[in-house]
């Protein structure tokens, strides 16, 4: 069975090419993936991300539960609305999913988890809740639209009521606020400024149309993938999964080790992995013709690795990739492409921020 978001008709209306994305019929592009990519880097684009799973965690022990569930520590969240990116690990230190958690108060949090892993995540959240006084509630009554780009906030603001404009005025990155009917967050998956907006499903079509009228360009999953890869952001299932340690997925910064007495799922395994060393997720840059693609073999002095995500970067005009390889001090790697070994540069896995190259 294929799921459709409430914006399905709007996508068809806009000429979208629809594809199956883990059981959801979603737009891959509306004509040109590259033009959509540039719209986000240079102006404003929007993505239907209603397929993502919104889960509220409430109750007297909501904070304790999340401090046990997540490798990052929600105790770091002091301000109302502040968001945190974290991996949710299994006992062997693999990544069950990556997610964003919004903090409202110690008894009230909101998670946004991936759609492809919805059922697994819900089972995991419920399973780990044993013994905690928490309530876990899915919120499928919301659609979600990401509006991203240098002009995204300004264009989205034109749709907001006076109260909503006031609520988001001066809001720093990685915050979320409930303002009347909308939950508006300064988060995203593109490396640009913008909002992710949760809107009641019955208002979503109208909201989308108004964004369209304000000059925001609809963008599909194709552009979403090239944008997130340029920004050096992981895609679950591709750059990491249940068998991959966050230490081998450029997610070391999302593990909060202190205080040492905080026990979280996967901690023991992570400590062992950290002590013995793991593979690393690095960026690769190839300025010659051709496109690095996921699955290609990578060689460095210390051994072999693999490209986890690769693409043509529309902003840079050449190919970039993320690869999981043995820890190395090499400055270059060899990639097997169409039966030839090609030398590429090893960089930190971050390529473009706020419209500009960071290479």
């Amino acid at each position: 069975m294929t799921n459709k978001t409430v914006l399905h008709a709007k996508h068809i209306e806009a000429g979208a090419k629809m594809v199956d994305f883990h059981g959801w019929e979603m737009p891959i592009n509306y004509g040109s993936q590259i033009e959509e990519h540039h719209a986000v880097r240079q102006d404003a684009g929007m993505f239907d991300v209603s397929h993502m799973t919104i889960v509220d965690v409430t109750g007297a022990q909501a904070k304790d539960y999340l401090r046990y569930l997540l490798a990052n520590d929600v105790a770091k969240l002091q301000d109302k609305g502040k968001a945190l990116y974290s991996g949710m690990l299994n006992e062997t230190g693999g990544v069950v999913d990556d997610l964003i958690v919004y903090h409202f108060d110690a008894e009230n949090y909101r998670l946004v988890v991936n759609s492809a892993t919805r059922e697994k995540d819900m089972n995991w959240l419920m399973g780990k809740a044993d013994g905690f006084d928490v309530t876990i509630t899915e919120r499928p009554e919301f659609a979600m639209i990401a509006v991203q780009g240098p002009n995204a906030k300004e264009k989205a603001n034109s749709l907001f009521s006076a109260a909503q404009q006031e609520a988001v005025a001066g809001m720093k990155p990685f915050f979320g606020v409930q303002a009347e009917d909308l939950f508006i967050a300064t988060t995203g998956y593109t490396g640009e400024a913008g909002y992710e907006i949760m809107v009641p499903a019955d208002q979503a079509g109208d909201f989308w149309q108004k964004l369209l009228d304000a000059g925001v360009r609809p963008c599909g999953l194709g552009a979403r993938d090239t944008l997130r890869l340029e920004a050096g952001m992981n895609l679950y299932g591709q750059d990491m999964d249940e068998t991959i340690s966050p230490l081998a997925a450029n997610m070391g910064w999302t593990i909060t080790w202190e205080p040492a007495e905080r026990d979280f799922v996967g901690r023991k395994a992570l400590e062992t992995q950290k002590a013995s060393g793991t593979d690393k997720l690095v960026g690769l840059v190839m300025t010659e013709k051709g496109v690095l693609r996921s699955g290609l073999k990578v060689k460095v002095s210390e051994g072999e690795g693999v490209i986890t995500s690769g693409t043509f970067s529309p902003t840079l005009g050449h190919s970039i990739a993320m690869a999981r390889i043995p820890a190395t001090s090499d400055a270059t790697a060899e990639v097997e492409m169409r039966k030839k070994w090609v030398t590429v540069k090893i960089v930190k896995p971050s390529f473009v921020r706020n419209g500009k190259s960071v290479l």
């Binding site: 993936q33 090239t226 051709g290 693409t311 043509f312």
Partner: protein, 129 residues
């Protein structure tokens, strides 16, 4: 449904062939093929002077989605390549049957073209995909 001009001949591997006279034929990939591939990012062309046989992989069309071989629909000598594709590979998307042409072949045996599909035959071959 994509456009399939009736004055061209087609290979089942999605190349089109247009006779230019004097045994020279222009070759590109069809509108249907570019739709399948998505935005083109690189096109690797053969060298002028190369001798090719029908079915040889002679060019590569690389899109955001995949790298796809382009095959010579007929045998002969490559007498021209579309150098505009070097800087503007998107011409294959915007004008597959026109400015997005890839190379020209001087046929060893122009009658080889008669073995290719006509528009109707190509349309049927797509429908079977």
């Amino acid at each position: 449904m994509s456009n399939i001009p009736t004055d061209l001949r087609y290979a089942s591997t999605h190349e089109w062939v247009r006779p230019e006279g004097d045994g020279v034929f222009t070759v590109g990939i069809t509108e249907h093929a570019q739709e399948l591939l998505g935005d083109m990012v690189f096109v690797e062309l053969p060298d002028v002077g190369d001798n090719v046989s029908a079915g040889d992989d002679v060019a590569v069309a690389e899109s955001v989605k995949a790298a796809s071989d382009v095959y010579a629909p007929i045998g002969g000598e490559i007498v021209a390549v579309n150098e505009d594709l070097e800087d503007s590979p998107e011409l294959v998307n915007s004008d597959a049957f026109g400015d997005g042409w890839m190379f020209k072949i001087k046929a060893d045996d122009p009658s080889e073209v008669d073995n290719l599909l006509d528009a109707e035959g190509y349309e049927n071959s797509i429908d079977e995909d």
